[in-house]
């Protein structure tokens, strides 16, 4: 069985392809393959990859993550980027996500859940369990009586230049 390797590879952005050209190209290749191949002709498994690459020009300009944005995201997520590599990783993640924009979604309703078309089960509005406060409080590291104990509030995180996570940025 002769199986040709995909000729068109985009390692960085494996989903960068369009439909119109996909259909055209794969069809012509498939014909070519059928004529030139000695593989079992009856097999209905497609012989060639149908994905097509999308040119950089079809994407919006790449996003550069500014130090201010780094700061904002770290405060929102309450985790730090750790290093320049962490910021690079976000830029790559955004670039990957930019491929969404090649798909036409005009007039398409967003979908939150596959159960959107059925009524979710509602149980009777009655207490069925509880009295477990003590049990739950034992899971916390720091409690007083029946309270979770937090350090002093309303103190903002240190400014960017004070934070060690930014030293590399």
């Amino acid at each position: 069985m002769r199986l040709t390797h995909p000729r068109c590879k985009v390692r960085e952005l494996p989903a960068l392809r369009t439909f119109t050209s996909a259909r055209r190209t794969s069809w012509s290749r498939w014909i070519h393959e059928r004529h030139s191949s000695t593989s079992t002709p009856e097999s209905k498994v497609p012989k060639m990859p149908t994905w097509e690459s999308i040119a950089e020009s079809q994407l919006p300009p790449p996003t550069k993550v500014s130090p201010d944005l780094v700061d904002k995201l770290e405060r929102l997520a309450l985790v730090d980027f750790g290093s320049k590599e962490g910021v690079d990783c976000l830029e790559k993640a955004i670039r990957f996500a930019d491929q969404l924009h090649v798909v036409n979604t005009d007039g398409v309703e967003p979908m939150d859940s596959v159960l959107e078309d059925r009524a979710l089960y509602l149980r009777a509005d009655a207490v069925t369990e509880g009295e477990c406060a003590e049990e739950l409080l034992t899971l916390a590291k720091n409690t007083i009586e029946e309270y979770f104990v937090a350090p002093p509030g309303n103190i903002p995180l240190p400014q960017r230049e004070e934070s060690p996570a930014h030293s590399e940025l």
């Binding site: 989903a15 079992t40 009856e42 209905k44 980027f81 955004i94 967003p110 509602l122 916390a140």
Partner: protein, 521 residues
């Protein structure tokens, strides 16, 4: 006896040819012998032996709790287990001992099944290799199979292949015969991917058919508990036990009436099998493609109608999944703040500083980066451009499936992964994000649409590793899917793992000769 199916071993228990304590002891011993696989985070030996003892008491008096009474099982360590540590393979939850059982765990215990341990995974189930957890990577048992070792000249300690992920520990446990069934979770392929690479049966049920209560959430609108077993019939037994509405999970749906077991009088000629052309993705390995063709031909020769179909949005699905997953991760990970449970940093200068350092110390890079990306996509100025856009594409993907199934297709046949298992040393050359976007290509569209899917091994690659294929069914048609999978399983007759004989330092040999003696392999 460890290689027997659930049905066979359950029969032996009922007839008194075998005791539950004896069986439990053998499984614990097998875990110890295969410790180097790192498939388990916690072994619950003491509780398991007590449970097995109680199962024996019931079996002796002829009053078993159910079809799983006395059967040892293991659970991915992101399902809550009462009084047993549940870590998600993260420092964040190290030492966390839940006060309750996940519904799926409780249902198995109620049937008399014996919990022997908690399986290793990628931290918070984020990954496709089971290489990114706080307790180290899981090794694929096939790395120590005769078929692999005979071709590999490498040292068994460095030349081994990944188990897949994120439920790699669960798949490795079932494949290495230490557990008869394991629970995994499947958000974008996390049960099917390792099931596929470890050569076991892995079922992702319809979204909502099996309760998520007690499964620590990753992506709420896609998470489904998964079932890993060594045969389709065993998976059906377990699904029967687990399925159905749960008042603790409002997203569960009522199971349709299901047959007692997989129907034997089924005729494959009544089935229409679709081959989605977009599942020939770039980088699909020649061998996997060859398996796909071989099995498609198998269906056709047996009289099934086989035809090419199109799911045009397939190639965009992984991008869409990437965005939706990061967004839900950003939201779901917000619960871990150090106050109520889990890790808490010693920093006590302010609440925010305590939160930030707790999360810095508790999460690995993968979790932190997904949370940061999610927060970016959810920013007010990006919300429509990324999050809503991805939700729109999600609908297009779900509609692709609907269209194909309403055209008369019963099941879809596709590859599960691009190739057989990658060597660990090669796998870690790329980061987790890149790997997940390559490895989840064929599995995550199903999660977008909430459909049931099953993967089973159909052949062995030239490297001596399993190659598996995936069958996808219509929503809530899990039993039809299992029926077709059962038919296919009988046609391909995939061999059971045979460990390499001369690795005496690992004592694998002893387990192999023991198993060989019993199963006559």
């Amino acid at each position: 006896m460890l290689g027997l199916s659930i049905r066979e071993v359950s029969q032996a228990l009922k007839e008194g040819r075998l005791s539950a304590t004896e069986l439990c002891r053998k499984c614990i011993n097998q875990i110890e012998r295969t410790r180097f696989l790192n498939a388990y985070i916690t072994i619950t030996e003491e509780q398991a032996m007590e449970q097995a003892q109680r199962a024996d008491d019931r079996l002796r008096t002829g009053k078993p709790l159910g079809s799983l009474d006395g059967i040892p099982f293991s659970v991915k360590d992101n399902f809550c287990t009462e009084n047993i540590e549940t870590t998600c393979a993260s420092i964040m939850l190290k030492g966390y001992v839940p006060p309750f059982n996940a519904t799926v765990v409780q249902k198995l215990l109620d049937q008399g099944a014996v919990l022997i341990g908690k399986n290793n995974l990628d931290e918070f189930a984020m990954g496709s290799g089971s290489t990114d957890g706080a307790f180290g990577p899981v090794r694929n048992p096939w790395s120590y199979a005769a078929s692999y070792r005979e071709q590999s000249r490498g040292d068994p300690d460095s030349d081994w292949v990944i188990a897949g992920g994120s439920s790699g520990g669960s798949a490795a446990a079932v494949a290495s015969l230490s557990s008869f069934l394991a629970l995994g979770s499947d958000t974008g392929g996390s049960t099917r991917n390792p099931g596929s690479l470890c050569g076991v049966v892995a079922l992702k049920p319809t979204y909502g058919l099996v309760s998520r209560h007690g499964l620590i959430p990753l992506v709420n609108s896609m998470d489904v508990p998964g079932i890993l077993t060594r045969s389709v019939h065993d998976a059906a037994i377990v699904l029967r036990t687990l399925q159905g509405q749960d008042e603790k999970d409002s997203t569960t749906v009522q199971a349709q009436s299901t047959p007692h077991s997989i129907p034997e009088d089924f005729d494959i000629r009544d089935m229409c099998v679709g081959l989605p052309k977009e599942y020939h993705a770039p980088d699909l390995s020649k061998e996997t493609l060859a398996q796909w063709s071989r099995v498609a031909d198998m269906f056709e020769k047996a009289g099934a109608r086989v035809r090419e179909v199109s799911l045009p949005h397939t190639q965009h699905s992984i991008v869409c999944y990437h965005v939706l997953c990061c967004c839900e991760v950003a939201s779901n990970m917000a619960r871990f703040d150090g106050l109520e449970y889990g890790h808490r940093s010693a920093v006590d200068s302010s609440t925010d500083a305590m939160y930030a350092t707790t999360r810095h110390e508790g999460f690995n890079n993968v979790v932190r980066r997904r949370a940061l990306s999610g927060n970016y996509f959810l920013l007010k100025q990006n919300y429509e451009r990324y999050f809503v856009k991805a939700q729109q594409i999600r609908r297009l993907i779900a509609e692709d499936f609907k269209r194909v199934f309403s055209s008369g297709v019963d099941v879809l046949l596709t590859p599960t992964t691009l190739s057989d298992a990658t060597r660990y040393s090669d796998f870690i050359q790329e980061d987790n994000r890149t790997r997940s976007t390559q490895d989840d290509i064929f599995t995550q569209p199903v999660n977008m649409a909430g459909l049931p899917a099953i993967t089973l091994p159909t052949g062995i690659s030239h490297r001596g590793l399993p190659i598996s294929l995936q069958l996808i069914g219509q929503t809530l048609q899990d039993w039809k899917l299992l029926t077709v999978a059962h038919w296919l399983e009988q046609q391909v007759n995939f061999p059971m793992i045979r460990f390499h004989g001369d690795s005496n330092e690992r004592e694998v040999e002893r387990s192999v000769s023991e198993r060989t003696h019993i199963t006559g392999l």
